[in-house]
Symmetry: D2
Subunit: 341 residues, 4 copies
Amino acid sequence: MDIIVLRPGAAKKDLRYIVKKLEHKGFTANISRGTERTVIGVIGDTSKITEEESNSFGALPGVEKVHRIIKPYRLASRDFKPENTTIRIGKHIIGGKKIHIIAGPCAIENRQRLLKIAQEVKKAGATFVRGGAFKPRTSPYSFQGLREEGLKLLAMVGRKTGMPTVTELMDPRDIEAVLQDSDIIQIGARNMQNFRLLQEVGSYDKPVILKRGLSATIKDLLMAAEYILAQGNSKVILCERGIRTFETATRNTLDLSAVPVLKGLTHLPVIVDPSHGVGQWDLVAPMSKAAIAAGADGLMIEVHTNPEEALSDGEQSLKPEKFKVLMRELKVIAKAIGREI
Amino acid sequence: MDIIVLRPGAAKKDLRYIVKKLEHKGFTANISRGTERTVIGVIGDTSKITEEESNSFGALPGVEKVHRIIKPYRLASRDFKPENTTIRIGKHIIGGKKIHIIAGPCAIENRQRLLKIAQEVKKAGATFVRGGAFKPRTSPYSFQGLREEGLKLLAMVGRKTGMPTVTELMDPRDIEAVLQDSDIIQIGARNMQNFRLLQEVGSYDKPVILKRGLSATIKDLLMAAEYILAQGNSKVILCERGIRTFETATRNTLDLSAVPVLKGLTHLPVIVDPSHGVGQWDLVAPMSKAAIAAGADGLMIEVHTNPEEALSDGEQSLKPEKFKVLMRELKVIAKAIGREI
Amino acid sequence: MDIIVLRPGAAKKDLRYIVKKLEHKGFTANISRGTERTVIGVIGDTSKITEEESNSFGALPGVEKVHRIIKPYRLASRDFKPENTTIRIGKHIIGGKKIHIIAGPCAIENRQRLLKIAQEVKKAGATFVRGGAFKPRTSPYSFQGLREEGLKLLAMVGRKTGMPTVTELMDPRDIEAVLQDSDIIQIGARNMQNFRLLQEVGSYDKPVILKRGLSATIKDLLMAAEYILAQGNSKVILCERGIRTFETATRNTLDLSAVPVLKGLTHLPVIVDPSHGVGQWDLVAPMSKAAIAAGADGLMIEVHTNPEEALSDGEQSLKPEKFKVLMRELKVIAKAIGREI
Amino acid sequence: MDIIVLRPGAAKKDLRYIVKKLEHKGFTANISRGTERTVIGVIGDTSKITEEESNSFGALPGVEKVHRIIKPYRLASRDFKPENTTIRIGKHIIGGKKIHIIAGPCAIENRQRLLKIAQEVKKAGATFVRGGAFKPRTSPYSFQGLREEGLKLLAMVGRKTGMPTVTELMDPRDIEAVLQDSDIIQIGARNMQNFRLLQEVGSYDKPVILKRGLSATIKDLLMAAEYILAQGNSKVILCERGIRTFETATRNTLDLSAVPVLKGLTHLPVIVDPSHGVGQWDLVAPMSKAAIAAGADGLMIEVHTNPEEALSDGEQSLKPEKFKVLMRELKVIAKAIGREI
């Protein structure tokens, strides 16, 4: 269902042209003449009209505006699948009653440090270990990650600790390596609309964490998920990680209302990354608690044993001791809302 | 302490002029010559330099940028007063261990309805009753509030239920009436930088809830509080109520990270208004829980017995039954973080 | 005309309730049942429905969304008045073929300086002189303006140079003084939604420059203008002066597309303030040219003889010599688009 | 040069640790003790410190904030190369006195239509033809472009009309094909921080148009350019195409102040895409004129013979007749500012 609003004083022939065009495409036009505007309701399965076809009506003479009534995403929508999607990874289920904590360093730096961090976060109650091997850095002069070597280290640490692993994929040419060494593929915020990369991960049966882009609306995020789902991969986990606003006190503005909004619109699990969302370690704890209280299915938290020597994002990483304290607090909050960690 | 960065290749006479100007104002210049830039550190009590004086250095020849090191607010700062401010209103204390819930309709509509809502929210555990008598509406054709008559109704309902009252002041000319009939004065988001209004409420010994403007940074909010504090009124309660971003799925983007950020920068109590923050009643519950988990000292929630007939903001008001359920959940969360409601 | 979209699976009784409610208010419901959604078109003069009444339908059970088709502003709309509004002030007409340049210091500082600046800008071709007597400063410790004394100086300089004057009104209690000493009242960005102030200036027959708020949409700006128009004052000049975005390289982001958008939606004159829009004097010239090219009816430019000593906004003020050069360039651009300065 | 600001009351050992750490890295610490804060100036070639190393100081105990004084980009900076970069493509030079107009359809649809459009825009004065073969669409169900077949058509039309061609590259795996059939590679807004793609195009000697991301600051854009420059490709053309803000009246907010800001910071040519910037064909003309007046080195304009049938972005495409009229107007504006088209 689309709604086409005509300009005041639109010519009769403009109206006739639009009606003919709609009928030609197999739709019925329901014309309502108000006192100020004439409005055309498009009857029929308008989900078959692409966004662009719909918009192109806006270029027709006499048209003031086109309102889209149906959602442009289908597979991601709760209309399509009302019950929650749960994703099994090893012995864990994401999207169920249990809230999962994914923890680890921003970048994989060396074997020893990664293993140490993984052991610490596991002890504290984290169920997945994260670490970047390919790092999207705003500066070409920054550390870009250990690449394939980093992937191998992550896989090894995953085996050694028994924790499934999460790492970011930036380039379709690296997919084979990432598929082999990681249990979940992460698509970073800056690649949320790298549509070719989305199609690529959509063609494998591998869980994907899709991070919301810095300027992506919730609809944009769901459309990006739709790209993956449309290729056949239904294991998509959405991740709120902060949007870009005018506020400079925090690195980004963590939009926690996205959690209940997404939970209403889609059946997919929703997690939150407070570390990138706020960008300062001392804000990670309160925002982690708030994310759980808002209904998140999981958290992704950066932990580092020596944040001041970290090759990436040290200022937003928790030390293991702080992480341990936080995990205890999160368990209490989870229980308070009828879930568990 | 201010830092003045010179352009590469700034003339020596430009440097000399700046140094002389600083010395004339009673400061010492600490010059550091780096390989790429020369930087002048301004030594002395630069808190006496106004923002504008500081900026005006940016207009001098040879200057690339001025970095302000000290915070432009003083009385609002934790540097000035490290311990939390608590505000006593009747038998209640805001800013202490107990979290306070302020509830009521957006606008005061009539005696009976206001009383009914106040009784319901009190029963559920709210400690303050709110209601607008002067309403800032985006349209001149919308209901503008019952004005003085509304104030009288609010005061009567406050007395009848034993709850202290909160109402908005929009115009300095109404202050006497509002002072008389309300226990807390609310300054709305659209008036956060109505500096004359801030000065006005600053000159009375009356608690003020200061709502963050739609495009106000956290620093702007603290500067607005400073206006009130500088007049002698130290009873300021800050209120996060959503900022304007590109996201259209919610009315505003509720910036919950503002809570811990403010708690770090200032000693003033911080509350959250989830109703305006998200603008849809079904998101109020999760965001209320998240606000408590993030560390808010209170919440301001719109409740209405007949939201669909409300003269203002019906779509974001909770019905009393939903509010009751929410209050029960909030108590559990509060306990989980070591506080109480 | 409003469009009410029902949720998939909305109950029949919800639909019946809405239809009855609409009929009760004197409207006809046009129901379209699509394959995915049922949509109700509201037939009748929906301009009589306030925004809030319209929104309150969103609180009804079964309703997913309400689309407003008609514009919430009427008197400001080109639908209401298709031809351009022109405003005569002294011998000048704003909104006609001639583009007017309003120039002067941010704040009035003293008699001699204001006179000197006014004489300089007049010589260069400016037709109005501006200067702030009441200054909205983010810091309570900044210079707040010379107040009544500043108004007297401005009036005197206006008489002496033969230029009509522009100054800002911040508080309804100062209106008599401002009406007496200024030819145009400016409502600043921070007061754009100070609705009581808008109503106040709306009740006099005095031209008003209404500046767009930092987070005001174009619709918000037009609604603010509607407040003035609805009181009977039709002499409103809209002013784009930059909006708040994530970009920090400029003080604000000057939204020049607002000029042609406003010209399409409203009959009111539109001017641009590039000085506040960008906040750096070296960007004022290119953005002034761009504003003229985009179709602005005038510009408001800050000029100061000693920017580095200015008590306000020195970093964005042009010196008279630069202003003179700019005026020559602007005249060429104006001619290129078939207008004149 | 970096500036490290300590918290009030930072411990002496924290200061000593930082100084030691700086000296260990080969820098000198210049300590200024103000009345409120102690500040450390880092003396030495801090351009060798990565952004991340610099930030990591923020994780150290006792540190309140780190101010970066030097720009994080080097090759893109005017400090590095003061004179304008000009890029020769065929017989045309971008970045010189002549302003170039790149025109064509959003997507390549078929041979005949593309040829017709190219011939029309050439006749009107455009010097480059654009057309998308790989299309980044927000919906997976939208037309994704003719891919390799589209590239062939574009190359053929380029040869036939004698116009150099511009097309978008979305995936590093397509680079050979794009290099062969296009004279300029476009990197779209959504891929501005697809760093692997940037490195890929950086390793060829081929002009690149780099579009600003929807939420990219000017600094982010220059850092993205730095990625390309750092690989050895110096032929980068920056393109402002609108940023995402709260305003919904236009598709994006075209930030024309980015043109003079960029011209000050970098030696690279800067062009503007008004079609995507505003998203409505009737706003393209005024914003094109404004962009020229603001100092743009070129424009990228969507032109389509049948916008209402376009497979992409019809609502923002000009018809050839409108484009012809616009070109005449642009020539007059260009002349008015001492340039030519």
